[in-house]
């Protein structure tokens, strides 16, 4: 797949500080690419740089092979969907959807055809003569998407388009957006701070922090092989377990030690004894058994019964860990349990937060 939207050493500053110091990015044609991160990480700025609402202070931006760094938005042929949809209240749904086409002086017959087709596809054809204030939030969102669709753009840009919907609608809208994108095959760049959304919808995710890329990869990669401490903690529906300690050598093996807590580090890690480490394990990868002899010995502190699974707080050698279990173990608080932390599921991060195993 060819590189469709490319950032080469792009920098953007506001006032005297560089909000985005130096960004390199390559978004492929047809993919659903999400910019994910906490507020202030630069994801919206990056989106606006693609749109042309902000002009880069350094570097080069290309879209569809063309250098667009200094070009204004209309020359870039991208369509943007805003968080509040930006539907003009004084225009009907039809006039809203057709607006970008009317601006470009597309022939009336063509306008009618495109709008009708796209509206039918999104099942809003019956709303064309209504005013935006008279349709539901979900319908408004589809009108906004429709307006983007009729432009047949180089890419769709979405700026947190689901945050104004309630939880149930949001799930529906997620699936719908993803489906439409795949059907149309148009490149989509999506901004969100909701990691579950990013994981569910994207082909690839770029996790950002303080104007820099922490990691770019498929949801799979981001989840199972986070390259940074920050990414490990940010992605995932349940809080990640973190233990700080250091590497120590014993016999010819490396061990992770934090106070009384000790765990063997599997071979192949890029480590030297004495290095400070943060150990990380996802709650669902911790295996508990009623036999305290299996692995480390832990004590149950608390059990939250969610119905589909249990969230178990267990204290191991002075450290508190969170575990998830879908099996019924019949455990109670203060029970002694065996805690197994498989070496293959471990994430180890050095002092600089970068992955070492």
């Amino acid at each position: 797949m060819m590189d469709w939207i490319v950032f080469e050493k792009v920098g953007k500053k506001f006032g005297a500080s560089w909000a985005i110091p130096e960004l390199d990015l390559a978004i492929k044609k047809g993919e659903f690419f999400t910019l994910l991160g906490p507020s202030g990480c630069g994801k919206t700025t990056t989106l606006r740089l693609i749109a042309g609402l902000e002009i880069a202070d350094a570097g080069k931006i290309s879209i569809a092979g063309k250098d667009v760094t200094r070009l204004p938005p209309p020359a870039r042929r991208i369509a943007m969907v805003f968080q509040n949809y930006a539907l003009y209240p004084h225009m009907t749904v039809f006039e809203n959807i057709s607006y970008p086409l009317r601006i470009r002086r597309v022939a009336k017959t063509e306008v009618l055809k495109r709008v009708k087709e796209s509206a039918a596809r999104l099942r809003i054809g019956h709303l064309l003569e209504r005013m935006p204030s008279r349709i539901s939030g979900g319908e408004q969102q589809r009108v906004a998407v429709c307006r983007a669709m009729v432009q047949e753009p180089n890419a769709f840009l979405f700026d947190e388009p689901l945050s104004n919907l309630d939880a149930r609608l949001r799930l529906e809208a997620r699936r719908f957006l993803r489906k439409i994108q795949k059907e149309l095959g148009v490149t989509a760049v999506y901004v969100t701070h909701d990691q579950a959304e990013a994981m569910a919808m994207s082909d690839r995710v770029a996790v950002m922090q303080e104007g820099k890329l922490a990691q770019v990869g498929s949801p799979e990669e981001i989840y199972h092989r986070p390259s940074e401490l920050f990414v490990a903690g940010f992605v995932g529906n349940f809080p990640m377990n973190f233990v700080e300690g250091e590497a120590q050598a014993q016999d010819s093996k490396l061990f992770f030690r934090a106070g009384d807590f000790e765990l063997e580090i599997p071979a192949g890690a890029n480590l030297k004894p004495g290095e400070k480490l943060t150990l990380s394990i996802r709650p669902e990868h911790i295996e508990l058994s009623q036999d305290p002899g299996q692995g480390l010995t832990g004590v149950i502190e608390d059990i939250e019964e969610l119905g589909s699974e249990q969230i178990i707080t267990v204290s191991v050698s002075g450290k508190t860990l969170l575990a998830r279990s879908t099996r019924k173990l019949g455990l109670k608080p203060r029970d002694k349990v065996g805690v197994q932390i498989p070496g293959a599921m471990l994430h180890l991060f050095g002092r600089d937060g970068k992955r070492v195993n």
Binding site: A51, G52, L53, P72, P73, P74, I78, A79, M80, F82, Q83, N84, A86, Y88, P89, H90, Y99, P100, I103, R104, Q151
Partner: protein, 295 residues
């Protein structure tokens, strides 16, 4: 909001309202109706007719309608309002507000600060600031023109109407500027940005995105400043209505006939006409407000 009758007895409510309503009734309401009556007499400020005025029916009105000074005042007022209120304050205020909205920089403080100063300084002072500014020999404007090699002009003498139009624009723009600036702030930025992304140029954006959003405020502003500009008296201090009545707006005409020539009856007739014009604008304002509320 409490409408609890047990807090104040009906008697107390009446007693509390009485002083204010009485004052307003005597000095605001009564004159509004009395002027109608006065306009039908030949009341004067001095002489016999001051003490024993007689009823003259519609003679004052017919005299006004055949008096070319009256028509002059009407015409001058009309041009004055068009130039100073509509083109001046409203248009300039709107353009400034749009520029400031786009630029969002330190200019906001400078421009609005200076405009506001012009607006709040007492009218007598502001009038003399402009008399000094426009002075034929020493005024700052002519000094600047002379430095640029142009001829000095006696503005208040040669172009009195233009002078008071520019003056009144300078004086009143701050109100429209601040009103429109506030209105522009209420437009969600995404409306304008999405129009930019879709390829709409500045002019298109103004007419198709911005204007529809501020239409109500625009109307309110125009009605208010038209009402105020029709009645403003400050140009009197600059030109006195001259030379040769070229800048005699309706208020100055009324002043001249009533207080300079003491023809109170006649002046009342013309005042009635002006008050009716005011009333019309006040009604328009109320209608516009009511329509905006139900929109």
């Amino acid at each position: 909001m409490a409408s609890n009758r047990s807090i104040l007895s009906r008697r107390l409510v009446a007693a509390f309202l009485a002083p204010a309503l009485a004052l307003v009734a005597v000095f605001l309401v009564f004159p509004a109706f009395w002027v109608l009556y006065l306009g039908l007499t030949d009341q004067a400020l001095t002489g016999v007719k001051a003490v024993m005025p007689s009823f003259v029916g519609f003679r004052n009105f017919s005299r006004a309608f055949s008096d070319h000074f009256f028509y002059n005042a009407l015409k001058v007022s009309f041009v004055f309002v068009l130039g100073s209120a509509w083109i001046g304050q409203a248009l300039l205020g709107l353009v400034l507000a749009l520029c400031l909205h786009e630029l969002k920089s330190k200019w906001k403080a400078v421009v609005s600060g200076a405009a506001v100063l012009a607006w709040i300084i007492p009218e007598v002072v502001v009038a003399y600031l402009w008399i000094a500014f426009l002075d034929k020999d020493f005024g700052l404007l002519n000094q600047v023109l002379a430095a640029a090699g142009a001829e000095k002009i006696n503005w208040l003498y040669k172009h009195p109407l233009l002078a008071i139009i520019v003056f009144n624009t300078w004086r009143g723009t701050a109100f429209s500027l601040l009103l429109f600036a506030g209105a522009l702030e209420t437009i969600p930025p995404s409306y304008i940005e999405s129009a930019k992304v879709m390829g709409a140029g500045a002019i298109r954006r103004f007419f198709e995105v911005i204007l529809p959003q501020i239409r109500a405020i625009l109307l309110t502003d125009l009605i208010l400043i038209t009402l105020w500009t029709f009645n403003v008296f400050t140009p009197f201090l600059l030109t006195g209505g001259g030379p040769s009545f070229k800048s005699e707006i309706l208020p100055i005409y009324i002043w001249r006939t009533s207080f300079k020539y003491f023809k109170l009856g006649y002046g009342s007739g013309v005042s009635t006409i002006l008050l009716l014009i005011n009333f019309m604008f006040a009604l328009l304002y109320l209608l516009a407000q009511r329509r905006a509320k139900h929109a």
